[in-house]
Symmetry: C2
Subunit: 434 residues, 2 copies
């Protein structure tokens, strides 16, 4: 009884099933009624979101949830159940997955795809862990898997580059992929209270994951980065292999020092690749004032793509239930109105071999009683400063490009020689004088 909605231009049977007419209702099976799932169900009912002009009306026909007895708007779906068989017995044209996490999302999404039902998901963990396998299942069954909301939820670009092989030729990406982290660092930069307070605000606004440790540790951004590495680098890598630094390493004083130099400290996810080797890092980093991501503040996300035919940059809202729900519904519109009942053929994807931290300039914080020849001490370890300035009890420095090993050796030496605090984050700057 499963059918697939097609557009009005050419009504043809696909995979042997019959299709509803042009102004058909698109019957949606919804996996999950949490923050994102219920925002989606509400938006699908909202007359202002009507897709009548493009030939269909979305309608949530059934929702699969963990706790059907939990109080919620009873109008969100005609059937709200925790029974998978009852859910899959409903005739639906499309499945929207808003459970989050790898299990049971993987089982349920695989099952839908294997029945030829297109799936739209916002689930970065699922796509990071199983995107390649799910795409293969979708292609094998001639149906669509769409996940525009899985990375930079409010900025449509993943599907665009998936469809455009020449534009997607890139050697690396630099991105702000986690709205919670950027919100927290922006709040610290504005002098607006504590780390904990900023985190609580982000959670209240629905930007943070239920467990914020994924946001703060960088693990959430690492998952999204692996999705980008697959798309732009054609390499598969497990998120756990991406080196992480937590944003808790930086404080308000560091942010002020960065601002005084015209820049900002942002939660960056970076990757560059060559053959099957990847240089990647997720963590706080200094960004110079003229960089495209320098002024991407608050919950916004942004990506700079080092593309073969010139640098591209995409910036916009990164998270939030309403934004994510709208992106899911736009994915539904794409699948329905464009008869995109298959996942685009992927270029050959290989497994990554090495994953190492990239060389870069560094933004250093040196605390405590430092010798006056601190620049010479760093220089004796091969670290050359382009800028060095005392601010209160600390000295801040910007260095020329150095390997992570070299910078850590130098910081160890400073600590050993002076007993002072010494730490550093990567710096994305134009190096005029190195």
């Amino acid at each position: 009884v499963t059918t697939t909605v097609l557009d009005r231009a050419v009504r043809v049977p696909v995979a042997g099933v019959e299709h509803p007419g042009p102004s058909a209702i698109c019957r949606i099976g919804l996996l999950g009624l949490g923050n994102v799932g219920s925002a989606f169900a509400r938006l699908a009912r909202d007359p202002s979101a009507s897709f009548a002009a493009v030939g269909f009306t979305p309608a949530v026909a059934a929702a699969l949830v963990r706790s059907p007895a939990k109080p919620r708007g009873s109008d969100l779906a005609p059937l709200i159940t925790d029974d998978r068989e009852a859910f899959f017995a409903e005739p639906v044209d499309l499945v929207v997955e808003a459970l989050g996490g790898v299990d049971p999302a993987f089982t349920l999404v695989s099952r839908a795809l294997a029945r030829g039902i297109p799936v739209v998901t916002a689930n970065k963990s699922l796509i990071a862990a199983h995107g390649d396998e799910l795409s293969r299942i979708a292609r094998r069954h001639g149906t669509a898997l769409r996940y525009e909301a899985a990375c930079m939820a409010g900025v449509p670009f993943l599907g665009t580059f998936e469809r455009r092989p020449l534009a997607a030729r890139a050697s690396g990406v630099t991105a702000i992929l986690n709205g919670t982290s950027n919100y927290i660092l922006s709040a610290l930069a504005a002098g607006g209270g504590s780390f904990a307070g900023a985190l609580a605000d982000a959670q209240r606004l629905g930007y943070a994951e239920p467990d914020p440790s994924m946001d703060i540790s960088g693990a959430d951004a690492a998952e999204k980065l692996t999705i980008l590495i697959r798309l732009f680098g054609r390499l598969v890598v497990e998120p756990a292999r991406i080196p992480l630094d937590a944003i808790a390493e930086v404080d308000g004083e560091d942010m002020s020092a960065a601002a005084a130099w015209g820049g900002a400290i942002r939660p960056l996810a970076r990757a560059a690749w060559r053959d099957t080797a990847i240089r990647a890092h997720v963590g706080p980093a200094f960004v110079g004032g003229t960089h495209a991501l320098a002024h991407v503040a608050g919950v916004s996300n942004g990506i700079v793509i080092d593309a073969e035919r010139g640098t591209q940059c995409y910036i916009g809202p990164g998270a939030g239930p309403e934004v994510t729900a709208a992106t899911l519904l736009d994915d539904v519109a794409e699948v329905v109105t464009e008869r995109r009942v298959r996942t685009p053929a992927c270029p050959v994807v290989e497994a990554a071999t090495a994953v190492t931290v990239p060389d870069s300039a560094w933004f250093l914080r040196l605390g405590g009683a430092l010798p006056s020849d601190i620049a010479d001490l760093l220089g004796s370890y091969g670290i050359w400063c382009t800028r060095l300035e005392r601010r209160g009890a600390r000295v801040y420095a910007l260095t020329c490009s150095a390997t992570p090993a070299r910078i850590h050796a130098a910081l160890d030496a400073v600590r050993a020689a002076t007993g002072a605090d010494a730490a550093g984050v990567p710096a994305i700057v134009e190096e005029a004088s190195c």
Copy 2:
């Protein structure tokens, strides 16, 4: 004999014609072999641009040109002709239009679409003048019209928003749409010589149109702006109705003054709409240093979209034959591999009624012998300055928001009272103290 290439997933007849197999050659009829057309023909033959992985090989089967005797690479197409009937007698799967200008492109593109042949074009003038009509012809004949390269050639976003009705809900756009103008102003800002020299460089690099007056006057950007107004505002407006100011109004000293205040003067195209009324302007404008377009220099283009669910920004290469050719070829890949044999249904589009210059802050240049109470003089005309500074023989000022009428009245008054030069461009700044 015209056929339409379909993908391998579902081989179904569309509109009664038979389709080649999955690794089929896509036979392309190319209109024009100028800078862009010949770059496209070369790229289509380049093995590194191979689309074998996505299931097809592009091949230029015939090219229609004005002067077939003109010397050029004889390997660009098997048939190079100025005979329209000979061109249309060739069996092709798709037409790529790279003639530029409205005529005869309109006649030729209409003819292809009316025969059900998908068309990919880079022609902003054509789409600005006849985009709505051509889309209707394409839809009526169940075929595709794609024009990603017509606006911000190296940044794929038009097709994305066309497919995504919720993301495309916006109240306005602010953009750098003309690479030549941005290149020239950037060169002036860098102190790198004269207006004429920068223009010659841009032409030599293939960024400028054959007739640079379209670039410099703002007419080229106005055409592109009307394409954006149709997409995001669902309003049709003739390019000639967009108010223009030429970039020649600003000089190197103005650029230095803008830089001293942390900003830049950029060639902006702006539009905002409400119902069927549009506020729009194309011309040089001051942009504050934290604005997303402040550091978009050289031949790069960028757009900030005031979308319902948050501001979005897209930045990248704006022009150049190689970039445009790659975008055309990615459009071909989309049409071929996604069976996107129709143009998406457009939301209802209305005709614009009023088109007026928006209110804004202003960046003023006042020359000659000015009275010391110049701020008071401006104030007596209702113009309040947030910043005012003498630089050499000139005074520069940033004002609070004012109507164009009021600012021009004040500038007239300054000229009348002092005999001094007085001019202004719009300023896109955060107005903290107005």
